[in-house]
Amino acid sequence: MGNMSDASWVAAAGRADGPRAEFTRRTVLRLAGLAGVVALASACQAAPAAPAPTAAAPAAAKPTTPPAAPTVAPAPTPATATAAPAPVPTQAPAAQAPAAAAGTTLRFVWLGDITPIWHPVKWETFSQSTIFVNIFNTLAKTDTDLHTVIPDLAERWEVSPDAKTYTYFLRKNVKWHDGQPFTGRDVVFTFSRDLLNPNQVKSRFEGIKGADDFKNGKTDKLAGIELVDDFTVRISFDGPDANFLVDQRDQRNVILPEHILKDVKPDQVLNSDFAVKSPIGTGPYKFVQYVTDQFAEFEAFPDYFKGKPKIDHMIMKRLAANVAEAQVESGEVDLVLRLNPIEYERLSKVASLNLFSVPSPGHTSLIFNLTQPRLQDKRVRQAIYYAIDRKGIIQALFNGRATPRNGAPPGLDGYSDLNPYDYDPDKAKALLKEANFDNSTPLRLAYDQTFPSFPQIWPIAQQQLKAVGIEITLIGEDSTAHINRSQKQLDTFDIDTGYGGSQALGPSESSIYFDCKRLERSEGYANCQVDDLFVKARGTGDPKARDDIYHQIAKILNDEVPRPALWSPNDLHAASKKLGGGFQIYPDPKEQFTKVETWTLAA
């Protein structure tokens, strides 16, 4: 529906462009007069602001449009690229190239907060991932299917059959942004230093042989990491670690330059120039600057080992959602990630945009508070889950653009023998009766009311639960208050709700939410069997045997539904039609810039 035929789109664009350029020019001139700027100066200024001199040319030229690359390999993923980037042959921007002497600039927006520390030691916001993926590299990444491991800094690797030893063979042609060569010493440095950083969130390298002795200062050499030669690194673990290979894609494990950071004391990393101002990586873009509350600027790294990026500059802006929408609509930005999915219908009418509605690794979920006696009975939890019409809500609120989940955690819910918990109010009533549910006081459901769509979802759920005889009191607050409640005030609510997580990225991702010894982490759900199975799976080298263990976990959690996911709403991304080349949407938006060096931006 949003797909106009190419011809009509082009025609519309042509019309729209003419007057726009004129308007801009007129305004510019009027303003120039207003400001009393001399004519000469204003002429200079006007040039970059409005492509005025060539205004006629592009309007005429656009229809013939671009050959450039065999544009946009149609998003390879389950990406329901709705406004499918019909390979509009985009015209070579030859005519305009000289005008834009400074080169192309991609402007993009990541919605969400940012911690302005450019070192993985304090990696706490997704916005940082977007920056890290542009300036750093990891040993390996995963492909768009989220589990096939593909080379990055490592060209290939060998894993011992017992999954205890990993040998990485590194690329030899990699340079740091300051021109120094990258070698295996950087990898050894990064991994061992990670263990020493006091600010590091639980290091991924704690299972490496000799990690404890190294951490306690008993030895200054980490026994489990061995530099076989300049470009071969061998890592040995005490026990098997089946996830190590995949884990390397994580932006927390980016490889850092030894020659710059070796003299920075581990407890000083946060205040170092590197972390605050001038990170040096091996990635496709060099970090230029970050201006607080405004933008981060990047410049193409000509010596990037996968080839010089085709787009010369990038600006990552920090904007509120309403501004981001306005700017992508007006063409001031070229790419916005994670817009409010409810905006889909409106934005699909904007001719200059490609809209992507992509299944997201995140999800909306109920989290039952098992410190409350009434919810300790699994039949009550199942009844609540049965009583919420998930497919109905998806249809009503998201126009069908969301994937319903079952009671097992995302990432583990793909097994065919799991209970889908289809909407069944009668079953819910029967279960409640069986469990002798005490309905004397309402159940308290807490949610973050600043999260888009939450103020709509929970009142609907409230009504549906009322229909089976469960009264619900809603507690809506801002994010900070809500997080505080769910962590520290377990006696003030019965059902918590949440959105996010990366659990769908892999079966092991859910393990962090289960800890039978730390009830505040799992909101009261204690099942040490689940914890043990997760540990066992991680230590199982054989894929088939490992999958059996995950299947077991899935069955337990599908039956006990301590924190059942409701659905994964699709992420909504908007990109200008000028964005092409190897541009494609990744299912994990954190990894969106994985092949950024192949993207092109038409003038």
């Binding site: 006007a46 911690t115 706490e124 306005a326 007006s330």
Partner: protein, 315 residues
């Protein structure tokens, strides 16, 4: 001088109330920022260590006294969110806010005063009705609505002006570009403040016009314009100064909303972020600067009284 001294306890009072209000709000500045997935991986001891590092483990009154003590040495503390010193954070944003507020004030005065006078001088004319309707509409419409409407009309629909930001990022500095970006937010903030100003000016002028000395002046055969500007305006100025003095804090409040809408990297944006992050030091920094600004503007209004009316003297 005495008035300056009085300002000090007032300022301390303001900060104490702000500090208490912020501390009473539910929520924790450390955990609020961290992605839940990561948070689940963190050790409680680690979180506690972060809290200690930022001095958040102390009771509220102690934290407040500490903050005051720091202030007396010119130390404003560190932001929980960015780990930068608050002095730096404020210095980054003050110019942007001053730019926006200054431009808005100029627009407000330039529009509000002359049209207010005109409206008063030509009472019940078509012009008066038109201006009255216009100013009433502006007073009634919330800034965020006018702002969003402005963005849509001028930015998205007509493509006349940029929708937001302080400049086109990634381009070399250009005054013209800055002005283009300033025009929409400053006009919206300026017009929002011009409206009440216009109303008060009109009322002031009307009141003065009925005085006997006006009749006298006109009877002397002076030109109507001279009567209006020299006799009427000067005397109508006193209440207007009061209004302008009161407008300044309102301008600050309006700037918070306007900055949010236009992604203007000023104090307003910082204040909103600090409040939602429960970032105590950042918010206190903003409160302090705004408090000083408001007190200063009151002082300026007082001085202006004396200039406008020679009968007023301060000892």
């Amino acid at each position: 001088m005495r008035r300056l001294l009085i300002s000090v306890p007032v300022l301390i009072g303001i900060t104490a109330i702000a500090f208490a209000a912020l501390s009473l709000a539910p929520g924790d500045p450390i955990t609020s920022r961290i992605d839940p997935g990561l948070l689940a991986r963190m050790d409680p001891a680690q979180i506690e260590a972060q809290r200690r590092e930022l001095g958040l483990d102390q009771p509220v009154p102690i934290r407040y006294l500490r903050w005051l003590a720091g202030l007396s040495h010119g130390q404003l503390g560190y932001s929980v969110a960015t780990r930068r010193s608050i002095g730096d954070e404020l210095a980054l944003r003050l110019p942007a806010t001053l730019q926006l507020m200054g431009a808005a004030l100029i627009i407000g005065l330039a529009v509000g005063l002359p049209f207010g006078i005109l409206s008063g001088a030509k009472q019940y004319s078509r012009l008066d009705y038109g201006l009255t309707a216009f100013s009433m509409a502006l007073i009634s419409a919330p800034t965020f609505f006018v702002g969003l409407a402005g963005i849509y009309v001028f930015g998205v629909y007509l493509h006349l002006l940029p929708t937001a930001d302080i400049a086109t990022f990634g381009e070399p500095f250009s005054i013209l570009d800055r002005l283009r970006h300033l025009l929409l937010p400053a006009s919206i903030l300026g017009f929002a403040n011009a409206a009440p100003l216009m109303r008060y000016t009109r009322a002031g002028v009307l009141e003065v016009l009925r005085r006997e000395y006006m009749t006298t002046a006109r009877a002397k055969g002076l030109l109507p314009s001279v009567v209006l500007i020299r006799h009427a305006l000067r005397n109508a100025l006193l209440p207007i100064i009061t209004v302008v003095g009161l407008l300044l804090p309102e301008l600050v409040a309006g700037a918070v909303v306007t900055e949010q809408i236009f992604a203007w990297p000023g104090m307003g944006t910082l204040a909103v972020r600090a409040a939602s992050d429960r970032d105590p030091a950042s918010l206190m920094g903003v409160v302090l600067v705004v408090g000083v600004g408001v007190l200063l503007s009151n002082l300026l209004a007082d001085i202006a009284y004396a200039v406008a009316d020679p009968r007023i003297r301060y000892t």
